[in-house]
């Protein structure tokens, strides 16, 4: 598989009105879903989700080993799948990588702005769902650059479908800890009691209730990094 550069895209600071829908089946999602004004600082953002190749390089260079290894890189990244997004990583694993590359995970608000932009687009590519522009309801993960035509207003690719992406922070409502996931994935479970799969709109996040690392890692869950810019 031919590798490619995961270049960084500049996002100029701006203010926008954050408004997000969530679907938690039952239960609540104790954050302010807007509409509210948020300020986005100057950012650089990875064009693609972090790939197996990038994460393997990180491991090679740092010898990173999580304290709890349950399901860590369970898919066993190898050269054949180097261009696929890295998955089976917890939020801690994602943060460790991001720190190493001098970045961090995007906040939930930043992620939405990167995907929707100042025009508040419903999908990265526009306002109408187009399953041919993303890995939606597929059988497996695909290369992060497989759907370049589905890029967002700023040029970021693979923001909807393929794999869910971690956002920054563990939210704590006093009784529960949870993180917010973005973008949806290729996997679409068959029943309405399952987590709603497939590609997801820019204005959608899913509440992942945090437990041990084995439960926090999944075959459909990866990340991309952002970098504070001047």
């Amino acid at each position: 598989m031919k590798s490619f550069e995961n270049k960084k895209i500049f996002i100029a600071s701006n203010e926008y009105t954050y408004r997000v829908e969530h679907l938690t089946l039952e239960g609540t999602c104790s954050i302010d879903h807007g509409p509210r004004n948020v300020k986005i600082k100057n950012l650089l953002v990875d064009k693609y989700p972090v790939t197996n190749q990038q994460y393997s390089f990180f491991l090679k260079k740092t010898g990173y080993q999580p304290r709890d290894t349950q399901r860590f890189l369970e898919h066993k990244p190898n050269k054949k799948i180097f261009n696929l997004p890295v998955v089976f990583v917890s939020q801690n694993d994602a943060i460790a990588y991001a720190k190493w590359v001098g970045g961090r995970l995007p906040t939930d608000e930043e992620w939405q702005y990167i995907a929707a932009g100042p025009k508040y687009l419903d999908w990265p590519w526009g306002n109408k769902f187009n399953p041919s522009l993303c890995n939606h309801d597929g059988n497996k993960l695909e290369s992060v650059n497989a759907y370049r035509k589905g890029e967002s207003w700023c040029g970021c690719v693979d923001m909807s479908g393929n794999c869910w992406e971690w956002t920054a922070g563990i939210h704590d409502d006093g009784n529960h800890q949870f993180a917010l996931l973005r973008g949806g994935s290729y996997f679409y479970a068959h029943d309405h009691w399952h987590v709603g799969g497939g590609a997801r709109k820019n204005s959608y996040h899913w509440k992942l209730q945090i437990l041990n690392e084995g439960m926090n890692r999944a075959a459909t869950l990866g990340f991309r990094c952002v970098y504070d810019a001047k």
Binding site: L25, D173, A189, D191, Q209, G214, R217, A219
Partner: protein, 603 residues
């Protein structure tokens, strides 16, 4: 037994079978004239419309009267016929009595169609509609509140309790049951049991399919009682239970599920259950906190939903991802067992993949039982026990199943011996009503745990009262998939009190002598009765659903009282009064209070 009277122009047929007396006027149509204490009814038994034309009353002809009696069996029937336009109809009305106080009323019809082309036939039962309008008629689960009939009884199974009509004193009663064997069965009872409970029963008109042979249209069981409506319920209960194979409930083993009064719902993703610093489950803490409720008898561990579906992992694989995988569950189970607490895991039927079967899940379960020593399987979203799982109980006799829904059908009730009594609706303004659950009284050996997951505040108070009123256990569920809805200290105390009473008086609550909604002396009081096997002791659960405090006599007691004690609820100054050799229970009962009173009788 039966008399045919032909006086002047009028023709009557009087039926008398045991305690049932019925008089028909067969002069022009078939009119019900009298039914035990209900006189001057003067209503057509039926009316038939063929292709929207009503068959005139004067078309009916009595063909034959048949009777036969012996020691164990009595039958009386009349055959009638009628020509209407080019079609010919035959019918038969029969009464069959095999048991004292229970009589089958059977109505059959046939048609010989002109040129063998069937027509659309609609049937009405004016006599039934007329009875239904009687001020002393109670639909199943209804009581009188002094002004009108109101519903205070619920059931959620395919059996329908009888509607009851009583005399003005409430002693002489008739119960009418329309058993629906199968909701799609042609002709048979025509969904009357359901219709009678609904509004617009007056408009009930059903379509029937008639052939050359007589077909059953109505099979109404008439229950008779001279001891009030409680007796009608008792007769129906006895008659209904006879159809069931309840051996699984009554096998010789002392099954722990019968004493599963409090089941804790342990939602894994929260401070209640999980220590985020130590990354382990707080099982000892949960058991300790459970003592505030009187102690959990079982714990239901829940971590698959709402997590399943994030990737392809199935419900069993998610156990492997817990800290130290299955060993976590094994450790928790061992701790539970050392505290005399049983442990359930859930089964999610909606997660079965296209390449899986229930048999394969039964194998997973078997392996899981061996690896972890879990005690039970909770059947999420289900109300029946698949055969694949039933086999598990043969290998692990003490292993139990409990379902989210109360079983509705006969086979389900026979095999699935425990379930939740779940109420509530998150999408509506749901109010927890305090009423009688007829399933619980029909099958008291089937433990039910009451739960209304979204109820808070006063609704939680009502939930506890409803459990006390029905003498049933509860599910202690405070973390609703990430929404923390705890019980208050006061509510915990009330649950603790309830649990100790359920435990102490287990034989009363779970014996088969319980009766819902017995007669009371106050229009704003409802009462259930729980009795030990020989009737020497009873527990009365009493609820004031009115808007005023009730002071004075509320129950007429069946026997002389030896001892009495209020065992649950706010002090109600219970007293026993005797007047003209009749014993009465009097109380000062505040609005919305539920109390339980234990009475020992002199026998």
């Amino acid at each position: 037994m039966m008399q045919n009277k032909f006086t002047g122009k009028k023709k009557f047929i009087d039926f008398s079978l045991g305690s049932l007396n019925l008089s028909l006027d067969v002069d022009k149509n078939i009119f019900l004239k009298k039914l035990n204490f209900i006189k001057n009814i003067n209503n057509e038994l039926f009316s038939i419309r063929v292709e929207n034309k009503l068959i005139p009353r004067n078309k009916y002809k009595i063909e034959k009267v048949f009777k036969k009696t012996d020691v164990n069996f009595a039958v009386i029937s009349i055959d009638f016929s009628q020509n209407f336009e080019n079609d010919f109809f035959k019918g038969r009305i029969s009464l069959i009595q095999k048991k004292k106080n229970i009589t089958d009323f059977i109505f059959q019809l046939s048609a010989r169609w002109h040129k063998n082309i069937p027509k659309k036939v609609l049937l009405k039962f004016p006599f039934l509609i007329n009875l239904h309008k009687n001020k002393n008629f109670l639909k199943p689960g209804d009581i009188f509140d002094g002004k009108k009939r109101i519903n205070k009884g619920v059931w959620n199974l395919h059996e329908y309790p009888p509607s009851i009509i009583s005399d003005n004193l409430g002693n002489q009663c008739l119960g009418f049951e329309f058993y629906d064997q199968f909701p799609w069965q042609a002709n048979y009872n025509l969904g009357i049991s359901e219709a009678i409970s609904n509004e617009n029963f007056e408009k009930l008109e059903t379509e029937i399919q008639l052939t050359r042979e007589l077909t059953d249209i109505i099979l109404m069981k008439i229950y008779t009682s001279s001891q009030g409506r409680e007796k009608i319920f008792g007769l129906w209960k006895e008659n209904t239970r006879e159809r069931y194979d309840l051996r699984k409930y009554h096998d010789s083993k002392n099954r722990w599920i019968k004493k599963n009064y409090l089941q804790h719902f342990m939602f894994a993703y929260g401070e209640e259950a999980f220590d985020y610093k130590k990354m382990e489950f707080k099982i000892i803490q949960i058991i300790k906190e459970g003592k505030e409720f009187g102690g959990y008898d079982s714990i239901l561990f829940w971590h698959q939903y709402p997590r399943l579906g994030l990737d392809e992992s199935n419900q069993w694989q998610l156990y492997k991802y817990l800290p130290k995988n299955y060993k976590t569950i094994k450790k928790i189970v061992d701790i539970c067992h050392s505290h005399n607490t049983k442990f359930f895991i859930p089964f999610k039927p909606w997660d079965i993949r296209s390449n899986e079967s229930l048999d394969s899940h039964a194998k997973y379960l078997e392996r899981f039982i061996k690896a972890t020593s879990i005690d039970g399987f909770f059947l999420d979203t289900m109300s029946s026990l698949p055969d694949s799982f039933l086999k598990i109980q043969k290998k692990f006799p003490s292993f139990e199943f409990c379902s989210e829904g109360t079983p509705r059908e006969q086979r389900q009730i026979e095999t699935l011996t425990s379930s939740w009594d779940q109420i509530g609706d998150i999408r509506r303004n749901f109010k927890v009503e305090i009423n009688s659950n007829f399933f619980r009284f029909l099958f008291p050996e089937h433990p039910l745990n009451l739960v209304s997951r979204w109820s808070v505040g006063s609704d939680k108070d009502s939930l506890i009262k409803r459990a006390a009123f029905n003498g049933m256990g509860m599910v202690i569920w405070q973390d609703i998939f990430g929404c923390w809805l705890p019980f208050s200290i006061e509510q915990k105390k009330n649950i603790k009190s309830l649990k100790s009473i359920l435990k102490k008086y287990h034989k009363y609550f779970y014996g088969d002598n319980s009766i819902p909604l017995i007669n009371t002396l106050s229009k704003k009081i409802i009462c259930n009765e729980f009795s030990n096997s020989h009737g020497k002791q009873k527990i009365y659960s009493i609820y004031n659903f009115g808007s005023n405090k009730i002071k004075g006599r509320i129950l007429k007691l069946p026997l002389e009282v030896k001892e009495f004690k209020q065992i649950y609820g706010k002090k109600a100054n219970i007293q026993i009064q005797k007047k003209q050799n009749i014993f009465y229970l009097s109380a000062n009962l505040n609005v919305d209070d539920v109390i339980l009173v234990n009475i020992k009788f002199k026998i």
